[in-house]
């Protein structure tokens, strides 16, 4: 068992060794699950057109731009952290996960501000679906943030190896999926 010391308090041991077959299996399992996540948003987007057509009501249009920028930046940092984990560079991994968590947190704050200043009526079709899609996405972002923070805590005890950094990959995949969904939601809610 490989073990090393990064900090003084905790001993770090390598993530459990996985065969390439297992890595493939767990990764496939993750993507099978993500199909269902995609269906959730497909359903919501469908409901948006079903109920509100292509109506767009005037809302706060500055904040979502900030959200988009923050999310795109966090997408970049998260992919860097994934690459770091793939090379077994756990120090860089921790740096970039920390940075990603910060950006994710900021993006959530911006979503919250956008939510609070949207000024739509949830009892109307567009308003209802607007708050629902943004809320669903924000909830998923919250889960993503939890995943990043827990990843950060885990890296104090577990060192990811080029053979097994599935946990990092999964978290980053999930986050990147959310960024794609956000961009779609942004277009669908604000422009179509």
């Amino acid at each position: 068992m490989a073990s090393a010391r990064i900090s003084n308090e905790t001993s770090v041991h390598a993530a459990e060794a996985l065969t390439p077959e297992q890595v493939r299996m767990y990764a496939a399992g993750f993507w099978i699950f993500m199909v269902s996540e995609a269906i959730i948003f497909i359903t919501l987007f469908g409901v948006r057109f079903l109920l509100a057509g292509t109506t767009v009501l005037p809302t706060n249009r500055i904040i979502p731009i900030a959200t988009t920028v923050l999310l795109l930046a966090s997408g970049y940092t998260s992919s860097v952290s994934s690459r770091a984990a793939a090379q077994g560079e756990n120090v860089r991994l921790r740096q970039y996960v920390r940075l990603t968590s910060l950006l994710a947190f900021l993006s959530l704050i911006s979503v919250a501000i956008g939510w609070a200043t949207a000024g739509l009526d949830p009892a109307k079709q567009y308003g209802g679906i607007f708050y629902t899609i943004i809320g669903y996405h924000a909830f998923h972002e919250l889960v993503g943030l939890f995943l990043f923070v827990s990843l950060l805590i885990r890296t104090r005890r577990i060192a990811y190896t080029p053979q097994n950094h599935l946990a990092v990959q999964g978290t980053v995949w999930f986050w990147e999926f959310l960024i794609v969904v956000w961009i779609l939601a942004y277009i669908i809610l604000y422009f179509i």
């Binding site: 060794a17 109307k124 209802g128």
Partner: protein, 638 residues
């Protein structure tokens, strides 16, 4: 590799905190944690909301509280040690109890989980069945007698339907037999994600209890379909309907992920796609349907919940009430196949074993599975013929008629297998033949319902009630019972009393056909659905339906007793009492912890009887078999 991992496990054990049992039994701890979480969140929301009249609960607070209760329950049941601690990099400090206690705690053993599913589904079936008995008791006379109000009766109808559909028929075979036998039938040691499997089971009791507790908030009157905008005006129990069904759906979804990944990755050497047992195929196709449609209905239910809580107006008068119906049936009709595909899987497993004959035209059954999977989402609107303009009916009439063609392939295969075979009339075989007959009646009555003019006459009447009970009880529950008789010797190592098995099977068959056969007529005589009282001219017929229903209920109860006796003190059986060929019979009864002494290597198909060539003739391309068997999944990954 194995030694390496072993070393690592011991290493983890050494440095971990001493493993001690939780101070409370897991189920109790789950309840306590869930209760505490519910109370905290509930009062937190109440403190913010400050409802009038000083109420201690509101719909919002209960919904939020239930979310917390779910998490508390899952953590308390063992999720804390097996999920949360490893999630933060600590070693998993969970020791699975031994003996009977392991069925009451978090488990990662697919066999334990399968039994948990089976017992829970059976229990839920009995509870919801008792509700049905109460309904039939009330319907013995044209006026209210057992239920004090019409709302109480309608709540009973709703709870019966919701539990039977979401917690029994989509759970029993997929969760129970699927978890237990998919790994065994493909020669694997466990599922790909054992911990996910453990969590997915413990969502079921939560969902069932949530729905059962809905009368605390006044029940709900919408039936299992939850049509809007009535749902928005229903008593507050409606939110338990949304939350309960959502939780049950989540469980189906996680099981689906597991079954798909397991089937794809953990097949033993030689279990090619072409040789995959039909039950596993059925599970795979069902899981794909679950994967697509459960998230969709989950989202729809969240929208419905928001309509009550915020309130938004997606499906109310400002919105589209019909959108709810479409979204519901877009899931609701595939759900019929989520229910029936596993049952067909059981037909096709049981028939060749007891007919001692090679499965006939196996590829046509598979074509049927796949075509049904692809078409199942094209027929939803036949539940809504009474809502649409005439011309809109035509495509759905067409698809609905067409989907009966691949369904017919199951009969093609079943009958072809029986022709010139050597049938052993054991209880599972009898039940499968009864299931064939019942589902035939269900399917043929579906032909009437698919027809526009007839549908407009009999829709929403007892004709429809009879039709779907014929498909779901007659098709699925009979197949489930057949599976119980067929596989219980494998699960328990004990044989079931065949004489009583046959008597019970015949009693159920008679009770069932008497009950629901008469319902066809009641429907045509103008008896509409979901009513606690009815015009006096229907009294005679309803009395006889009720009496038949009590016979059916008694026969089910008697069957349960037979299972119980077999489980406790049935005769010991060997590994392969039925002389079957699939892999689950190649290991001891009950199977050892890791299923097989060594991973089996399969060299021929599972349905080759007599001197016929052993290879099945499915034209699915063979997938090259990896030289090494895939490594067994480990409990905890990074």
């Amino acid at each position: 590799m194995a030694t390496e991992m072993g070393a690592q496990h011991t290493g983890e054990k050494e440095e971990s905190a001493p493993q001690h049992r939780p101070s409370l039994p897991p189920v109790l701890r789950g309840m306590v944690w869930g209760g505490i979480a519910f109370a905290l969140l509930n009062f937190f929301v109440i403190a913010i909301q400050r409802p009038e009249y000083g109420a201690l609960v509101s719909e919002v607070s209960v919904s939020v509280g239930m979310g917390g209760a779910l998490i508390g329950w899952l953590l308390g049941i063992g999720g804390y040690e097996t999920w949360l601690l490893p999630w933060f990099g600590r070693p998993a400090a969970w020791r699975e109890p031994e003996g009977w206690q392991r069925y009451f705690s978090f488990s990662t053993d697919h066999k334990v989980i399968g039994i948990q599913y089976l017992i829970t589904a059976t229990g839920t079936f009995l509870v919801a069945g008792m509700v049905a008995m109460a309904m039939r008791y009330n319907l013995m006379t044209p006026s209210l007698n057992l239920f004090p109000t019409s709302v109480a009766y309608e709540s009973a109808v709703s709870i019966h339907g919701t539990l039977m559909l979401f917690a029994v028929s989509v759970v029993a075979i997929v969760g129970g037999f699927g978890n237990y036998f998919v790994p065994l039938m493909i020669g694997a040691k466990d599922m790909v994600f054992p911990r996910l499997n453990g969590i997915s089971y413990w969502l079921i009791p939560f969902g069932v209890l949530t729905i059962l507790l809905s009368p605390l908030l006044g029940g709900f009157v919408t039936g299992w379909t939850g049509y809007e905008p009535l749902a928005a005006r229903s008593p507050s129990g409606q939110i338990f309907y949304y939350i309960g069904v959502f939780t049950l759906g989540l469980s189906s979804l996680l099981t689906a992920v597991n079954v798909i990944a397991t089937t794809v990755f953990l097949r033993a050497p030689g279990v090619t796609w072409g040789r995959l047992p039909m039950f596993v195929w059925a599970m795979l196709v069902t899981s794909l349907l679950n994967l697509y449609w459960v998230p969709s209905i989950g989202t729809t239910f969240i929208l419905g919940l928001l309509d009550r809580l915020v309130p938004t107006d997606f499906f109310g008068q400002g919105g589209l009430p019909l959108a709810w119906q479409s979204l519901f049936w877009l899931f609701g009709h595939p759900e019929v196949y989520i229910i029936m595909l596993p049952a067909w899987g059981i037909w096709l497993e049981v028939l060749p074993v007891f007919a001692r004959k090679t499965l006939f035209a196996q590829r046509w059954a598979l074509i049927g599975f796949i075509v049904i999977m692809l078409m199942s989402n094209l027929v939803w609107a036949h539940h809504m013929f009474t809502d649409m303009g005439n011309a809109e009916m035509i495509p759905f009439m067409l698809f609905t008629e067409l989907i009966s063609i691949p369904t017919g392939f199951m009969y093609l295969v079943a009958l072809g297998t029986m022709w010139r075979s050597r049938i052993r009339l054991t209880t599972p075989m009898i039940l499968v033949l009864m299931s064939l007959f019942n589902f035939l009646i269900g399917g043929l009555s579906g032909v009437f319902l698919a027809d526009g003019p007839v549908n407009l006459a009999v829709h929403d009447s007892y004709f429809v009630v009879a039709h779907f009970h014929y498909t779901i009880i007659g098709g699925m529950v009979f197949a489930w019972l057949a599976g119980m008789y067929y596989w219980l010797p494998k699960i328990t190592g004990h044989a079931i009393n065949e004489v009583w098995g046959k008597i019970n099977a015949v009693a159920i068959f008679i009770g069932f056909n008497a009950t629901f056969g008469q319902m066809f007529l009641a429907g045509m005589h103008g008896m509409n659905r979901r009513i606690a009282l009815y015009p006096a001219y229907l009294a005679h017929q309803n009395l006889w339906i009720s009496i038949s229903a009590f016979v059916l209920g008694a026969a089910f109860a008697s069957t349960m007793v037979n299972f119980g006796i077999a489980w406790v003190r049935g005769r010991q059986v060997g590994a392969n009492p039925w002389d079957a060929k699939t892999l689950e019979w190649k290991t001891a009864s009950p199977p050892p912890k890791e299923n097989f002494e060594e991973i089996p290597v399969v060299t021929e198909g599972f349905y080759g009887y007599g001197n016929a060539g052993a290879e099945p003739e499915i034209f699915v391309p063979r997938v090259a078999v990896a030289a090494d068997p895939p490594a067994p999944p480990t409990g905890v990954s990074g």
